[in-house]
């Protein structure tokens, strides 16, 4: 008989799906997720009243002036934080990445054990930098340097340097290693081999990730505004407390525009560099 042989992957896939569902269930019950709460009439009317206050968005001249100031401050916090983060992340990524290993050259890309051991402290540093959430750093720095944007900048710089460093190091390792190895094999220094061998291939991915992180930094700076680190977040916090829904709506629209702009910028840079 010509029965089609059964797909040998079918059973494992089924079992994996069941396992995933079985693991998901305790997660749902532990987080006490209760979707029916959304649809209870009293809750719905409270939320409806809250949302109704959002319309129309506030647009009087003095508020727009305030909004403009806060937006600029938010952008400044995000940009300054990212610049500081880059200053820490680049050297760390270069040190943590295996892509520039000289000892890996005659071993088909696997560095010697001692070279790997030397990379561990840098990887550890990057893990420490990014494992504490930026809001915690912000709370800490608000105590240390007082209310205002400085705390936000420092918090973003610390957390984001950890993220950028880790991802950059992985991007360096994921691009075609042959140009770099050829240069190292022709006697070049490591930094020069990076600039001539890794960077041309990694630049577009690095750019796109950096712009995405900048976008995240804009959002994060807003969250940190709630704990007093300046910018749009502080304004949203104030407006929410005063039940000024129209102002909140205007600020949310500003966000939409900012994220949209970041998206366009990223698209533009990628098209230019790929």
């Amino acid at each position: 008989m010509n029965t089609v042989p059964r797909d040998p992957a079918a059973l494992p896939r089924l079992l994996l799906t069941l396992l995933a569902l079985a693991l998901l269930w305790p997660g749902l019950s532990l987080s006490e997720l209760d979707l029916t709460a959304l649809f209870r009439p009293d809750n719905a009317s409270v939320m409806g009243g809250f949302l109704a206050g959002f319309w129309p968005p506030a647009h009087d001249a003095s508020f727009l002036q305030l909004l403009w100031q806060a937006t600029l401050e938010t952008l400044a916090i995000a940009t300054a934080g990212m610049c500081l983060a880059l200053l820490i992340a680049m050297p760390c990524a270069l040190l943590a990445s295996r892509a520039l290993s000289l000892s890996a050259l005659p071993r088909g890309g696997r560095p010697a054990w001692w070279a790997q051991a030397l990379r561990w402290p840098v990887r550890g540093l990057l893990i420490v930098l990014r494992s504490v959430p930026e809001i915690v750093w912000a709370l800490l720095f608000v105590r240390a340097v007082g209310l205002g944007p400085t705390a936000g900048v420092l918090a973003i710089a610390i957390t984001y340097s950890g993220m950028l460093g880790k991802v950059y190091a992985e991007i360096f390792e994921s691009v075609d290693p042959r140009p770099t190895r050829a240069l190292l094999g022709a006697g070049s220094g490591r930094l020069a081999a990076f600039a001539y061998g890794v960077l041309p291939n990694a630049a577009s991915e690095m750019l796109s990730y950096t712009v995405y992180r900048w976008e995240c930094a804009v959002r994060a700076s807003v969250v940190m505004g709630f704990v007093g680190a300046g910018g749009l977040g502080q304004q949203i916090d104030l407006s929410l407390r005063m039940f000024a829904g129209g102002e909140v709506a205007s600020m949310l629209l500003t966000f939409l525009v900012l994220v949209l702009l970041a998206d366009r910028l990223s698209r533009l840079l990628r098209e230019r560099y790929t």
Binding site: D176, R181, G189, A192
Partner: protein, 265 residues
């Protein structure tokens, strides 16, 4: 003496002995072609000489130094004096030809100079001269991904010539070129090496190209040197033995022996 190998062997990471008992001496300025069937160990031999691989046995001496007894820094300085032409040139697709060729010299430059050169080419004249030798002067500011395979191979050769090393190792340097261009390029490589007193070792697929352009021929088979003699003394029987293949039973060879040994591209 630019190369001296005594009983050099190489065991691959999976335990296969790719090269065994290689004895080879190359004087400064000597030019030789390495021929042999696919998988004979030609590339491994070149990579050993380029210090891309470390020999498992034997003694290796390059340009008067033993690379694997040197410090890391001294070994990098030695590597800058050895040029390796790759079969498929490892050039980033978006890099410009002028940058790719000038990268040949970054072994000699300070990091600062290398970075400056990346921002603005410091010696586009010198790069253009090397490219002009290979008929590529008009490609100076093109990107590498706009070139054909044969043009890329010539950019790779221009880069190694620009490096101006004391020893050039070439791994199938003309495999992506048509026969006429391949002959022209091999002739050029030999001429430049002879003029500048550079030792040249090239692995070549096409036997008649090797015999035509190189004064000395080394036949490699199964990781061993089968013969090593001047091109004029290589006999048809030796070539038959070099390429004889039990698996691929070919039609009986006609009277002219080198006939079935046409380019195996």
């Amino acid at each position: 003496m630019s190369i001296r190998l005594d009983g050099v062997g190489f065991v691959h990471a999976n335990g296969v002995q790719t090269l065994a008992d290689i004895d080879l001496q190359v004087a400064a300025g000597e030019r030789l072609a390495i021929i042999g069937p696919s998988g004979a160990g030609k590339t491994t031999l070149l990579h050993l000489l380029a210090t891309r691989l470390r020999p498992s046995q034997g003694r290796l001496e390059l340009l008067g130094e033993q690379p694997w007894t040197l410090s890391v820094r001294a070994r990098q300085r030695l590597r800058a004096r050895i040029g390796l032409v790759h079969q498929s040139p490892p050039l980033p697709p978006r890099q410009r030809v002028v940058t790719a060729v000038s990268a040949g010299r970054i072994g000699y430059w300070s990091t600062l100079r290398a970075l400056l050169n990346l921002v603005h080419p410091l010696d586009s004249g010198g790069v253009r001269d090397e490219l002009a030798r290979l008929d590529l002067a008009d490609k100076l500011f093109e990107r590498c991904n706009q070139l054909s395979g044969g043009q890329l191979q010539r950019v790779g050769i221009a880069r190694v010539l620009y490096q101006s090393p004391q020893l050039i190792l070439a791994d199938e340097p003309v495999s992506a070129m048509d026969p006429v261009l391949a002959g022209h390029t091999l002739a050029l490589l030999n001429r430049e090496a002879a003029q500048r007193g550079i030792s040249l070792l090239a692995s070549v697929h096409a036997v008649e190209l090797a015999l035509e352009h190189f004064p000395r021929i080394v036949g490699v088979r199964d990781g061993r040197i089968l013969f090593d003699r001047p091109a004029a003394e290589v006999s048809a029987a030796e070539l038959q033995a070099l390429y004889a293949n039990a698996q691929l039973q070919q039609a009986p060879a006609p009277a002219m022996a080198p006939q079935p040994l046409m380019p195996r591209c």
